[in-house]
């Protein structure tokens, strides 16, 4: 039991580290690769808890996480970036230091929160939940501090990774919900992609600030 717990803690911690890496990276290609790494870590974490907890249905979740978010979505985003011709672009973020410090604060916050809220549960479930909440909040933060539409999509997806981690740590989602969430994420990706291309067509850039400027002109 202890060994099982150690390894799941390690994998969840690795996911948190990758979500900090997402905040740190400012090259789009690197962001996509880190996101793929995060998804693969998620798949490993889920598969580990399926194996150690003897819950075979979680293997399906792990397979979905690996194939969809570890391979398909990063590849699709790579192609999008290549077609938009922004693969060499360096994005100006709020400032890496500020983003990282805010991320740390969010991590501490999620920990304090989970420990207070989930007092009755087993300690390992509580820790997994705290880490998952931190990943979710960091995904939020990434969506806030990024200005490029593609990296915002990555922020959204990494938030979803955190959700799956939380669901695994708790009692687990029912499979139907799991599958439907996976597909809605895939559909969201398509919508995002269409949206990104539309933005580009209209403004010649996918910098979200262009939208702000346009609204200013109309006023």
């Amino acid at each position: 039991m202890n060994q099982a717990y150690d390894i799941s803690h390690l994998l969840a911690g690795a996911m948190l580290v990758t979500s900090f890496a997402l905040l740190y990276q400012d090259r789009i290609i690197a962001v996509l690769n880190v996101f793929a790494a995060q998804s693969i870590t998620l798949a490993l974490a889920v598969a580990w808890s399926a194996w150690s907890g003897d819950r075979p249905d979680l293997f399906i979740t792990a397979t979905i996480a690996f194939s969809l978010k570890g391979v398909v979505i990063p590849l699709a985003l790579h192609r999008t970036v290549a077609r938009l011709g922004i693969h060499r672009e360096v994005e100006k973020v709020v400032g890496v230091g500020v983003a990282l410090v805010v991320g740390l604060a969010l991590t501490a916050l999620s920990q304090a929160l989970v420990i207070k809220v989930a007092q009755g549960t087993a300690s390992y479930a509580r820790e997994e939940l705290a880490l998952a909440l931190a990943v979710i909040l960091n995904g939020f933060l990434m969506m806030i501090v990024r200005r490029n539409a593609v990296t915002q999509i990555v922020g959204f997806m990494s938030m979803e990774n955190g959700l799956i981690l939380a669901a695994t740590g708790a009692r687990g989602m029912p499979l139907v919900v799991e599958v439907s969430v996976a597909f809605s994420v895939l559909i969201a990706l398509f919508v995002f992609a269409v949206f990104v291309f539309r933005i580009r067509e209209r403004f010649d850039t996918i910098d979200i600030e262009a939208l702000d400027r346009m609204r200013g002109d109309r006023r």
Partner: protein, 322 residues
């Protein structure tokens, strides 16, 4: 009883001379590995010893504007670093100085040496020295908090800040995967690279370049002063490798009660580990480019973030905040 004490003093003395003797060799290993990987012949392995001897024999040239601080700083920096290096348990954990081998004391000793060096860098009044000092301080303000957080994480796991105690704890502990310790390890490696002016942060092989940090500070030193400063920087390298080894790979280290046989085994293991660490550093330095100075806060900041995460995770594992 008396014989016991004598043996203890002897062992501690051995360690102190040992770090001093191994330090130039470790630097030589780093340089040789780098040279060979670049397909150069490189200087001989013992070049650092020859450099030190040469510098010690040369006269020391002082700038006209140099004050007493500039002249006396090397004589304080070197002992401070030497004592710090001697505090880190190398081949045995039960040595005489070990009751004082507190990580916090270690950080304080190194911090004092660094502050003196920065002051000495500004003393002569050349622009290079000032640039070097200001950059060194910028790196230090980020690396030192990270170091303290790492110390806290380890102290939290082992229940003590004494290095020997921490090492004993990890030797006794069954092998387990711990996220917080892994993060602390990465963070400590980054801090070690930054503190030793190694490649992503500073290039130790440069001379007279606008981006240099450590070399810029010591630019005005010559002769025996420079020899002392160089020896101190060699010692610092060994200190950090030794610290990493002692905290994260302490196997082979002799426990407190081991006799001379145990010490010998520990000695061989320690020297092998130090040289291996130096070789790893050489490979790392060849495979990565130096960062721009303005990106350094990001890089060293990562050490801080990892250390903070480490301590948060170890809190979480213990359920402290509950």
């Amino acid at each position: 009883m008396n014989r016991e004490l004598l043996l203890q003093v002897l062992a501690q003395g051995t360690q102190m001379t040992l770090v001093l003797l191994v330090a130039p060799l470790a630097v030589g290993v780093v340089r040789t590995v780098k040279a060979r990987l670049m397909r150069r012949q490189g200087p001989p392995l013992w070049q650092a010893y020859l450099d030190l001897v040469k510098l010690l024999r040369k006269e020391s040239v002082l700038a006209e504007s140099a004050s007493w601080l500039f002249r006396s700083a090397p004589y304080v920096i070197f002992p401070l670093t030497w004592v710090a290096a001697a505090l880190v348990p190398s081949f045995a954990s039960g040595l005489l100085f070990n009751w004082a081998a507190d990580v916090v004391a270690l950080v304080a000793l190194l911090g004092a040496a660094r502050a003196l060096l920065a002051l000495a860098g500004m003393d002569v009044g050349t622009s290079f020295g000032g640039i070097g000092s200001s950059r060194e301080m910028m790196i230090a303000t980020l690396a030192e908090p990270a170091m303290m957080l790492i110390v806290l994480t380890l102290a939290f796991a082992a229940g003590t800040t004494r290095l020997a105690g921490v090492a004993d704890f990890f030797v006794a502990e069954p092998l387990a995967v711990r996220v917080s310790l892994a993060l602390a390890l990465i963070s400590l490696i980054i801090v070690a690279l930054a503190e030793n002016a190694r490649i992503p942060v500073d290039n130790p092989a440069t001379h007279l370049e606008l981006t240099m940090v450590h070399e810029a500070m010591v630019l005005e030193y010559s002769g025996r002063h420079l020899a002392l400063i160089e020896a101190a920087s060699y010692l610092k390298l060994v200190l950090y490798i030794s610290l990493l080894v002692c905290l994260f790979a302490p196997f082979g280290m002799a426990p407190a009660a081991a006799g001379i046989g145990g010490w010998l085994v520990g000695l061989v293991a320690w020297i092998a580990k130090i040289l291996f660490g130096a070789a790893c550093l050489g490979v790392w330095e060849v495979s990565i480019a130096k960062m721009r100075v303005f990106r350094l806060p990001d890089f060293v900041g990562v050490a801080f973030v990892f250390a903070f995460l480490a301590i948060l995770l170890s809190f979480l594992a213990r359920g402290v905040l509950a």
